[in-house]
Amino acid sequence: MGTVIIDGQEVELKDGERLNCIQLAARVQNDIPRYCWHPGLTVVASCRMCLVQIGKKDPKTGEISITPKLVPGCQTLVSDGMVIVTTSDEVKNSRAMVEEDLLLRHPVDCPICDKAGECYLQDYHFQYGRDERRADIKPFTSRRREMGDTITLFVDRCVMCTRCVRFTREISGTNEMMIIDRGARDEIDVFPGFPLANKLSGNVADICPVGALCDKEFLYEQRVWYMKSHDNVCAGCSTGCSIFVHENQERIYRLMPRENQQINQWWMCDDGRYGWKHVHDEQRVTTPRKREGDTYTNIEWSPLLAGLDATLKNAKRLAVVLSPMLTVEEAYLLAKYARTIDEHALIAVGYVPVEGEDETFKSGFTIRAEKCPNRLGVSKVASHFQGELVAWSDLPARLASETFDALWLTGGYGHAWLADDMAATLVNIPTLIVQDMFTSAAYEAATYQLPGASFAEREGSYVNHADRLQSFQWAIRPPQGVQPEGRVYWQLLKLPGLYNGRRVMEDLAREIVYFAAAQQPVPPTGVDLKVNLLAAQPAGATV
């Protein structure tokens, strides 16, 4: 317990809290400028932008004494009775000095710099910089140096905050980046023959406060102020990193990590970061079609769904395969739809892609081998309806032992996934409905071909490997001709209005105990289903 006074405002400290001045100031919307400090990295206190004045309030007399010397806010932990001043002339002058210093050798090439618009140097210069240049004007130089396959360095823009160097030492643990030379001539570089080549490399461009480290994929693709940012969840693996999707006019330009202390902290892997290309793939199927005999006819969604509904209602035995790429809500709606037609419909979980082993980095960040976002969530829905878990590998046996009149197969994977032998089994089913993003042997043979949505076009929730549920909205509209799965099922169930993931979640959280914690609105960082479930259960009940 304790009280800290910052610029005259009292802030309460909780027990055992270890906060530095920057973190404390953030509580009262006082943004202390900084370059080198990052909450996920060690403190070096070298940029000197966060200098503040501190003092002490005498608990007896109430007298406040301020130390004239400036201290770095990042390095100074707050304690009871401390006084922080961020508005004095000394602090203002020191900020102006650091801004002026950093611009001495900076090329000021904002018009051609990718970081312009989200650059600390720019922002702080507007807020704290001097209104005139006093130093000699420097010839413009813009040297570029390759760090690796993903990242390039614009040497002259660097402010030597060393965040990138610390990142490769502390988070990825790969130590590729370093500082060469000394004093005003020091530069970031990689060791000769050892380029920046780790699966977290993209993060160094995110944490770079200026336009020095740039992502080659994103380089010169889009000005940041044209893009809209949407909260989303990475569908690359079962870690389920919280991300931002940055898009302009329904086109994704980049994915960036969104801070989530329970899952990915501030980071995301390159697999996920660059794993959105399939969304805008030319090969994506975008035309709903119906097969009659051997010929396919393009057909509008509403007549198609009416026909589909009629066909399924005539069928006796029904099976649906819920892809782990679907959201919980979508899986629930499809399963529910199947059960309204055939109350013994087989609800199985689709293909779960697994590649290699889990990959854990020095900080504990893990890339999972399970390359789908929602196996757990979909499995819980499927087993709720089915009473047991019917996995993709169990499906051939079930199909052999029983006769099904219709099977609804969902995909949504960013790559070819259906094995030939499985496809051969599926094509024997009289009515085969395939909903996918890309064509496959099963899609080619399907009675109904339904083009499906990508992760960025969906709305709903994923449950990651650790039972954490995160909800998100769609970031872009699907290509013309594509209906997101949720919307299709919503229409088939003849629910009122438009598909609304939140309403579905409220229903299913009431119905399926596992999801009980999601009945309340889900915060941006998600909810832990397991912890809440244990608390919600009566004593002695098993999960």
């Binding site: 403190v43 070096v44 206190a45 070298s46 940029c47 000197r48 932008m49 200098l51 010397k69 400036l70 201290v71 770095p72 390095q75 002058n93 020191s94 000095m97 650091v98 210093d101 950093l102 001495l104 050798r105 005139e132 240049r133 006093r134 130093a135 000699d136 004007i137 420097k138 010839p139 413009f140 130089t141 813009s142 402010v159 030597m160 500082i179 030379d181 000394r182 004093g183 005003a184 001539r185 020091d186």
Partner: protein, 451 residues
């Protein structure tokens, strides 16, 4: 020559003074034997504390007090680092000690390690001292052979190993945490404090870093006693309760335009005039002095009028300088231009700034560039204000940097411009008669290179 009998330099000039034989023949290692037999580490600590010995490396921090910052009853290991990375311009007293009397230094180190409980000592030696390296290595081999180092020194329980680590010629390695980083094999970027090295230093263990001359003083204190040490020098200023006084003999490095430059031992508190006239044999060619650096280039500048400045730890501070520093006095006569002096100083700090903190990295480079332009005849009056502003805002005293290198860069600027402003203005006016009042930023000197 004055009548002060040299103690630290007593053996200098004796043939083969760097051998153990000669050192022992003049009473060397007797103190070590006595201390190991009769005294506890705490006694040594108290002895040094009571002697009032202050660190000779530049900051003048009381040595005994520094030792007491070590955590009590630490399970170990505790490390001792000898700072022999002597690179302050004008300073060469450590070199003399290590070249001509390495055993005196080593005895002091062993005593200091004994007092602090260190069982490992790293002798961080400047790379540019090959003769020191040779002689220190030989002296260490002699000590191991004689049982002064290694396991169970002189039959006691105390063991100590000493390793010589050669730096790679960077000024910043003389900063104690820069030294520790360099010792650990890292880039010599000074650490943020706290934690101070006494709590968490080399390899994250408590570490003491002491200067070569400090250790030599420890050896003499153990040999001659604290009373002897206190009988030399300047007592504390009664008007300043925070002044611990300046006791003991000090090695002054006198260089520049004097007749007999060299390393002289004198009691702390002699004046610059004393040093020049009684030790240095007066000004060279009888010229008039113009200015002097009181204690290494970082400490600032004294004008010829201020040569009555006493060279003790508090003295130069009263004349607007940073402090005594390493007591390296560089005397300049009237042939030296203040512009050249400032350019040279700025060039040095620009070259040696480690590049970690923005104000120091950019401030030193900016001031150098400005002085280069002034020197080239493109100076403006406004540059002087900017240089002064840089000088006033960089360093640990205003709090804008991690280590004191920037203070060292700031003091020559502050003193040089404040004390010689008229000369600088005259120079600028003379060399840039049309543009000296210009205030707009100078245009780029090279044509724009657009990529």
């Amino acid at each position: 020559m004055p009548d002060f009998e040299p103690v630290l330099l007593a053996n200098v000039g004796v043939p083969n003074s760097f051998t153990r034989e000669v050192y022992e023949s003049t009473g060397g290692y007797a103190a070590l034997r006595k201390v190991l037999k009769e005294m506890s580490p705490n006694d040594v600590k108290e002895l040094v504390k009571s002697s009032g010995l202050r660190g000779r490396g530049g900051a003048g921090f009381p040595t005994g007090l520094k030792w007491t910052f070590l955590p009590k009853d630490h399970p170990g290991p505790i490390y001792f680092c000898l700072n022999a990375d002597e690179s302050e311009p004008g300073t060469f007293n450590n070199r003399i000690l290590m070249e001509d009397d390495p055993h005196q230094v080593i005895e002091g180190i062993i005593l200091s390690c004994f007092a602090t409980g260190a069982s490992t000592c790293y002798f961080y030696l400047r790379y540019e001292y090959p003769l020191c390296y040779e002689r220190v290595e030989n002296a260490l081999a002699e000590c191991y052979a004689a049982g002064y180092l290694g396991k169970n020194i002189l039959g006691t329980d105390y063991s100590l190993d000493m390793y010589v680590h050669r730096g790679a010629a960077a000024y910043i390695c003389g900063e104690e945490t820069g030294l520790i980083e360099s010792l650990e094999g890292k880039r010599a970027w000074p650490r943020i404090k706290p934690p101070f090295p006494a709590v968490e230093g080399a390899f994250r263990k408590p570490t003491v870093v002491n200067n070569v001359e400090t250790c030599a003083c420890v050896a003499q204190i153990c040999r001659r006693g604290a009373e002897w040490f206190k009988s030399i020098g300047v007592p504390p200023d009664p008007g300043n309760p925070r002044d611990p006084g300046s006791f003991g003999p000090k090695l002054y490095c006198l260089s520049g335009h004097v007749n007999k430059p060299g390393c002289y031992e004198a009691p702390l508190g002699i004046t610059v005039n004393d040093l020049i006239n009684n030790y240095g044999g007066g000004m060279r060619d009888g010229k008039r002095p113009k200015m002097a650096i009181p204690g290494g280039i970082s400490m600032g500048l004294l004008t010829a009028d201020e040569f009555d400045c006493p060279l003790d730890f508090a003295g130069p501070g009263k004349y607007g300088c940073l402090g005594l520093g390493t007591a390296a006095v560089v005397v300049m006569d009237e042939s030296v231009s203040i512009v050249d002096y400032l350019y040279n100083s700025c060039q040095f700090f620009d070259h040696e700034s480690c590049g970690q903190c923005t104000p120091c990295r950019e401030g030193t480079a900016w001031s150098r560039n400005m002085l280069k332009r002034i020197k080239a005849g493109q100076g403006r009056f406004r540059d002087l204000d900017l240089l002064l502003e840089i000088g006033d805002t960089i360093g640990i005293i205003p709090g804008t940097t991690i280590c004191g290198l920037a203070d060292g860069a700031a003091w020559p600027l502050k003193n040089g411009i404040r004390k010689f402003r008229q000369e600088l203005e005259d120079y600028i006016k003379r060399t840039n008669p049309t543009g000296y009042m210009e205030t707009r930023p100078p245009p780029a000197l090279v044509s724009l290179d657009v990529h």
